[in-house]
């Protein structure tokens, strides 16, 4: 797996918590916006060195996106842990509210690519659409 960086990796997130993945591409959802596309769970080793990013809050899941967002998807932590890939959902101790899926295979590494596709398909099946439309981002409190 390509989670090469371990700094700031915290405890496991409880199973009953729902976490959110912001859509920074329109095609994280299917064209009819009726299902989640496996693409939403592709992790690249070159830019996700600590894991795949999610958030505890829907708005926070899209806040980092500079060019806007296309909604968000939600998935229960227990559903992620129940898969057979040894995935772990952990808190990021450096950034409150930031969550990481660890041990997800990388789509850009030839030896992990097939497993990455399988894992992405099974995660997408378990995810639901939290918002099919762009989420307005309120300013952060000063």
């Amino acid at each position: 797996m390509c989670d090469e960086q371990s700094a700031g990796i915290g405890e496991l997130v409880p199973e009953d918590v729902t976490v959110f993945r912001g859509c920074d591409r329109k095609n994280y959802l299917t064209p009819l916006k009726d299902a989640v596309n496996p693409r939403a769970f592709y992790k690249r080793g070159t830019n996700h060195k600590d894991g795949l990013s999610l958030a505890l809050d829907m708005v926070e899941s899209v806040r980092p996106f500079k060019k806007g967002n296309f909604g968000a998807i939600a998935i229960r932590v227990g559903d992620i842990h129940a898969l057979r890939f040894g995935l772990e959902v952990r808190f990021d101790t450096m950034t409150p509210g930031h969550i990481l899926i660890r041990n997800l295979p990388c789509i850009d590494r030839p030896r992990e690519k097939e497993t990455a596709e399988v894992a992405a398909a099974e995660l997408a099946f378990r995810a639901r659409i939290a918002s099919p439309d762009p989420i307005p981002i309120p300013p952060t409190a000063q």
């Binding site: 920074d24 591409r25 329109k26 095609n27 064209p31 496996p38 693409r39 592709y42 690249r44 500079k66 060019k67 296309f70 850009d108 030839p110 690519k113 097939e114 596709e117 399988v118 398909a121 099974e122 099946f125 378990r126």
Partner: protein, 140 residues
């Protein structure tokens, strides 16, 4: 030569993308529409598919139906995905124009029950996979 409108000769290479001399303009337009869509990129910094890859992909897919396919850029790659029932076939072109792989899976009751990634794929493998998509009971 008796050619259908928008349909041209398809060459089948042994290990890499074909280089036929004609392109199905419908396929090319669909590819260009997808890779020109800023909403399909993570950011403005994400690498775009190379022009040579675009033409190679269009040539390779000329003669294959992309009417129901989803075409998307991905960090310099061109991904072409077909889905029907529980079957998904994904052709990945690039980012190096010589690279072509095909992934296919069967999805049943929440799990992938069958999958295979063919690195260094050829169009025969893609066509066989699309035949499997159309008829999952066919032996491919």
């Amino acid at each position: 030569m008796n050619a259908r409108p928008n349909s041209f000769r398809l060459e089948k290479p042994s290990s890499t993308i074909s280089d036929p001399s004609v392109i199905d303009i419908t396929v090319l337009n669909k590819i260009v529409d997808a890779i020109s869509n800023a909403d399909l990129y993570e950011s403005e910094d994400e690498p775009r598919p190379h022009a040579l890859l675009i033409t190679k992909t269009a040539k390779a897919l000329s003669g294959i139906s992309v009417a129901k396919a989803e075409i998307a850029p991905f960090f310099g790659e061109i991904n072409v995905t077909w889905k029907e029932g529980g079957i998904r076939v994904k052709a990945t072109f690039g980012p190096d124009p010589a690279l072509f792989s095909v992934y296919r899976e069967r999805f049943e009751e929440g799990h992938v029950t069958q999958s295979h990634l063919e690195e260094n794929a050829n169009l025969d493998y893609l066509e066989a996979s699309l035949q499997w998509l159309a008829d999952p009971f066919v032996n491919v």
